[in-house]
Amino acid sequence: MPSKRYARVDRDYCVACGCCVKVCPMDAIAVWHGVEARVDEARCVGCGRCAKECPAGAIELAERGIRQ
């Protein structure tokens, strides 16, 4: 069963440093072509480690299924 929340990246603030990638326990984040971090929503369990680690404050946890 998918988690209620997932990590969402604000591309305006993401600096593609890769800090989030290192802490993600699910390997659900990757840096896309050095431009921004992208979350595989299907793998993300919404633990929030990436949001806590992100120095740019570019990651927040969002509720699943709100905008479908």
């Binding site: 998918p2 997932y6 969402r8 990246v9 591309r11 305006d12 603030y13 600096v15 593609a16 440093c17 890769g18 800090c19 990638v21 290192k22 326990p25 699910m26 840096v31 896309w32 072509h33 050095g34 431009v35 992208r38 979350v39 595989d40 929503e41 299907a42 680690e53 992100c54 120095p55 740019a56 404050g57 570019a58 969002a62 699943r64 299924g65 905008r67 479908q68």
Partner: protein, 216 residues
């Protein structure tokens, strides 16, 4: 779930070694050119920020100090510091200072100015550093560049440590000039038309605006 360690996870050691080498012999400062050229090469020819993501010794050192050694207040990085204005402004300022340092190197090389055996902190305060230069058989401009480059590296490290202590461990990464520049290069190189997040199709719209559709 603990992630497996790789050889490059220990590169943090490079920062203290580099700073220590420059303390004893300033000519080692030239090694810092690796930290300048490698991220650029990776971004230009590889189209990625693999240097920041994996190999950056400074980022790892800041993570170690702020994370494992708990020297960071872990407060959110201020909005002004993560704004594009500040990031690009700092990039311009940093490179202006870099080219000014190259100009001084040229003046010393042409004999118009004497070699200054000092390290300039925060582009303002001159610290005597003459013990680190022993009049080796190198041209004066080679030593001048080393003093200038070491000043730049020490100053940027100090700024990194200050923002690490005040905010998040890797707050420096937010406005690191090399990081900003390589991200710009990657943006130019990134494939067009591939900007849709793969997760969208699997789980519905994530509101990432990657497809160009504005959030409702």
């Amino acid at each position: 779930m603990k992630k497996a360690k790789h050889w490059y996870d220990h590169l943090w050691i490079v920062t203290p070694i580099y700073l220590a080498l420059g303390f004893f012999n300033i000519l080692f400062a030239w090694l810092g050119m690796i930290f300048f050229c490698l991220p650029l090469f990776i971004a230009i020819f590889g189209g990625s920020k693999l240097y920041c993501n994996r190999y950056c010794d400074r980022g790892q050192f800041l993570s170690l100090l702020g994370g494992r050694l708990k020297l960071s207040a872990n407060r959110p990085t201020p909005n002004w510091m993560r704004s594009k204005w500040f990031r690009y402004g700092f990039l311009v300022f940093f490179f202006a200072m870099f080219f000014q340092m190259l100009w001084v190197t040229y003046l010393v090389g042409s004999g118009a100015q004497n070699l200054s055996e000092t390290v300039k902190l925060f582009w303002t305060f001159r610290l005597p550093w003459d013990w680190a230069y022993h009049g080796e058989a190198v041209a004066p401009w080679v030593a001048q560049f080393a003093f200038g480059f070491y000043s730049l590296m020490l100053t940027s490290n100090l700024i990194g440590w200050i923002v690490m202590a005040l905010f998040k461990p890797r707050s420096w990464c937010v406005f690191c000039p090399m990081g900003t520049m390589t991200q710009l290069i990657c943006k130019l190189r990134a494939p067009r038309g591939e900007s849709v997040q793969t997760a969208c199709s699997a789980q519905g719209c994530a509101g990432c605006a990657g497809c160009g559709k504005k959030e409702e």
